[in-house]
């Protein structure tokens, strides 16, 4: 049982990342893979600051900001230097590898007997209960904020940017600035995920972000299949679907491990699984 509970904890930790991917890929239609680097960046910022004696509460906004800067850089390279979005993301992700390594000073930084965001908020209960409650609180705050943002005039302009750029430019929106902001927001959320996961697992690692974009994409797709939204549902339902998708994704991986699949093949399982969820809607719509 605790096996699945820790899967739920991880799922919630990755939900922030999944919402980030939802913003870049679904709302803005930009295939952004800065993610791998910004996720690690969030984790590195958390590990460096917390092991350096700073409060996890201070590290949270800094992690978000660091990710946002990385995302904004990708956005600037994409819109101002007219570099293909995929390539812009790869460039920033590659650069971040060195940045992350330089920040940590080594490839792995453990957090042993340091405070975490989970035990800093004076919430009673066991460690895993604290994690669960704090994660629910953080993800709820992100969810409510995003739902509100998407309803504002600014948020409508954001959604229209990914939906019909020609139209929204004619309605007076600088779509370049919008994309830069969108990628900053998406990668800020991704870094928050890295920040959370680092504290759940108790260490930051230079390779923790490898292939993480697939986890986010998989979560978004599971949410889409579950809530069968063809983007007709409200933003609230879509985001809830993404969060549930992220948790289910972890449960499925936990199940795969529990039936004895070697951990070596975990990424292979992930890839095949995501391929399945990505292609299901296509096959369905053909029929």
């Amino acid at each position: 049982m605790s096996f699945y509970l820790s899967a739920v904890i991880l799922g919630l930790g990755f939900a922030s990342l999944a919402m980030g991917i939802f913003i870049s890929m679904r709302i803005f239609n930009i295939p952004d893979i800065t993610t791998d680097g910004s996720f690690t960046l969030g984790g590195v910022v958390a590990a460096v600051l917390i092991s350096g004696g700073h409060s996890p509460l201070v590290a949270l906004p800094i992690a978000f900001l660091a990710g946002a800067i990385a995302g904004a850089l990708t956005g600037i390279i994409h819109t101002r230097l007219k570099v293909n979005a995929l390539l812009a993301g790869i460039l920033v992700m590659t650069a971040l590898y060195s940045i992350n390594l330089a920040l940590m000073g080594r490839s792995n930084l453990p957090l042993i007997n340091t405070p975490t965001i989970f035990n800093s908020l004076f919430i009673p209960g066991t460690e895993i209960q604290q994690q669960f409650i704090v994660l629910i609180i953080i993800i709820s705050i992100i969810l409510v904020t995003l739902v509100w943002l998407m309803k504002t005039d600014f948020g409508l302009a954001m959604r229209a940017t990914g939906n019909n750029e020609k139209m929204i430019r004619a309605l007076g929106v600088n779509t370049d600035v919008m994309k830069i902001f969108g990628l900053a927001l998406a990668n800020g959320l991704t870094a928050v995920s890295g920040y959370l996961i680092t504290q759940v697992q108790g260490f930051a690692d230079i390779n923790m972000g490898i292939g993480i974009v697939i986890i986010g994409l998989g979560s978004v797709m599971i949410g889409q299949i579950l809530f069968s939204f063809k983007r007709k549902e409200t933003i609230m339902i879509q985001l809830l679907g993404v969060i549930v998708g992220s948790i289910l994704f972890r449960m499925i991986l936990a199940f795969a491990l529990s039936i004895g699949i070697d951990a070596i093949y975990l990424k292979l399982v992930v890839a095949i699984f995501v391929l399945a969820v990505v292609s299901i809607p296509n096959i369905k719509s053909k029929a």
Binding site: T152, L156, A157, M167, R169, A170, L171, G172
Partner: protein, 250 residues
């Protein structure tokens, strides 16, 4: 009043494909005037339109709106004065946003998009009333996504959206060319009504000779980047279908 003074635009300058489309082009559009522009392909219609919209910037010359020089103002900033209707009926609306949300964005075309929720009850009632005026039965579908409507419905709403905020100039680029004949007639009639009712200054590019006969105060025919014919008032009313075909043949 819209003025183009000494506008020149050359594409692919200093290359083998150099193509001068406009050379010292002058045109004045009076307030509340509905101008139709015709001309064969390559006559400079689209260039003229894109210059007004700001998607291309002239090499030389001035574009003035009510005596304000906007020649080097970027397209998304020109939305302060100019509304545009595209030929593709799907281009003017965002399919995944609701009808109401599309109208909200159009209603703040000239303003900044701030962090406030503008789609409140009052706004909704206002838009419902406005859309009811179209007589298309869409007033009770405000929360439906734009993408669920037909091209004709979307183009009708796009035209209505263009009048949602202070519009000094409405640009229509063959607004009904992509619609079936029956819908095209209905939507064009609607567009004309909206333009007249709101006293808009409008410029429409069209290939439909029937629309030329039926609508507008002024007719401009472009040929090789120059004004070949410019007819207003009774001169425009006298134009016959045969004349138009003759002019194109010249």
């Amino acid at each position: 009043m819209i003025e183009l003074k000494g506008i020149s635009k050359t594409f692919n300058k200093n290359s083998a494909n150099e193509n001068q489309l406009l050379n010292d082009f002058n045109l004045t559009i009076r307030k509340n005037e509905f101008t139709l522009i015709v001309g064969s392909n390559g006559s400079g219609k689209s260039t003229l339109f894109n210059l007004l919209a700001g998607t291309i910037i002239p090499d030389s010359g001035q574009i003035l709106i009510d005596e304000k020089d906007i020649s080097s103002v970027k397209d998304f900033r020109r939305s302060k004065w100019i509304a545009r209707i595209f030929q593709d009926p799907l281009s003017g609306t965002a399919p995944e946003l609701s009808i109401l949300e599309n109208f909200r964005l159009a209603s703040i075309r000239t303003q900044s998009k701030s962090l406030r929720i503008g789609t409140d009850r009052k706004f909704k009632d206002q838009i419902r009333e406005k859309i009811a005026g179209l007589g298309l039965g869409l007033e009770n579908k405000l929360d439906q996504s734009m993408g669920s409507l037909s091209g004709g419905q979307r183009q009708a709403l796009t035209i209505l959206m263009a009048t949602s905020d202070d519009t000094r100039l409405l640009l229509l680029d063959e607004p009904v060319a992509a619609l079936d004949p029956k819908t095209a007639t209905t939507i064009m009639k609607l567009a004309n009504e909206i333009i007249r009712k709101s006293n808009l200054t409008a410029i429409m590019v069209t290939h439909s000779m029937r629309d030329v006969m039926e609508y507008g105060d002024r007719l401009i025919m472009l040929k090789n980047g120059e004004i070949d014919r410019d007819l207003s008032g009774s001169d425009k009313k006298k134009v016959q279908l045969n004349d138009l075909y003759d002019w194109f043949g010249e």
